[in-house]
Amino acid sequence: MPYDVTFERLETQALHDLKGPREALAAWAGDALPPFPDQPNTKTEAGGATLMFIGPDHWLLRADLTREGTLDAALRPAEAPPEISLVRVSDTLAWFRITGPDAAEVMAVACPMDLHTSRFGPDGAGFTEAFGLKALVTRCADGFDLAVEQSFGPMVADYLTRVIS
């Protein structure tokens, strides 16, 4: 059964992996970050950047690749105090955008997590599985963004092509 969706592979996204106590991260880099999300596996957005709460004392900052240098300069990873860690990881994930009326149906094929809006709201963002791989899933306008380890990008592109055809 063909699904009414389209998918595209997004360009590399600027990503920074942030670890440590929230207060220490906010004190060091708060001005460069959107407000910290309060609920696990949710995100906040401000100034073109998205901050995702992906684990205990663990956040992922996402922005367009053009902003990577600006964020690097603002986060000053090499000078950070020892209780926090800020690491640029832009090259680690391959991103896909799945949109259209049946986007949730395709995600249900890929992913065991309950992605109904009652459980995974508009601000949902977190790691789960997609096609058996560790994957970051978040909502976008009219669908979902899905990110997997970079080297699995061509394989996931192939899986998505098979699912929707």
Binding site: N41, P112, G126
Partner: protein
């Protein structure tokens, strides 16, 4: 397939987790127990018929290590027996 309750993420599919083995009793002082008891602690894996305490790693999720009690007869995740943790 089990739904495993992650303290950070809530209930998630078993396939997102990696099994970390049963929780062993605390490590005894080898010089304070018999050779038999020490060997037993080193080599015997808890494998009861009933509730067993297990460690799981949410490796394809938030990365948390967690501990659950699972009943080996029903595969259900259960409360800790005798009000234990």
């Amino acid at each position: 397939m089990m739904q495993i309750p992650c303290p950070f993420c809530g209930p998630r599919n078993e396939s997102e987790f990696s099994f970390g083995g049963p929780v062993k009793p605390p490590r005894p002082d080898p010089s304070a127990v018999s050779d038999e008891d020490w060997t037993a602690w080193l080599t015997q894996v808890p494998n009861p018929l009933g509730p067993v305490q297990e460690q799981w790693w949410h490796v394809r999720g938030c990365g948390t290590w967690l501990t659950i009690w699972r009943d080996t007869r029903t595969h259900d995740i259960v409360e800790a027996p005798d009000g234990g943790r």
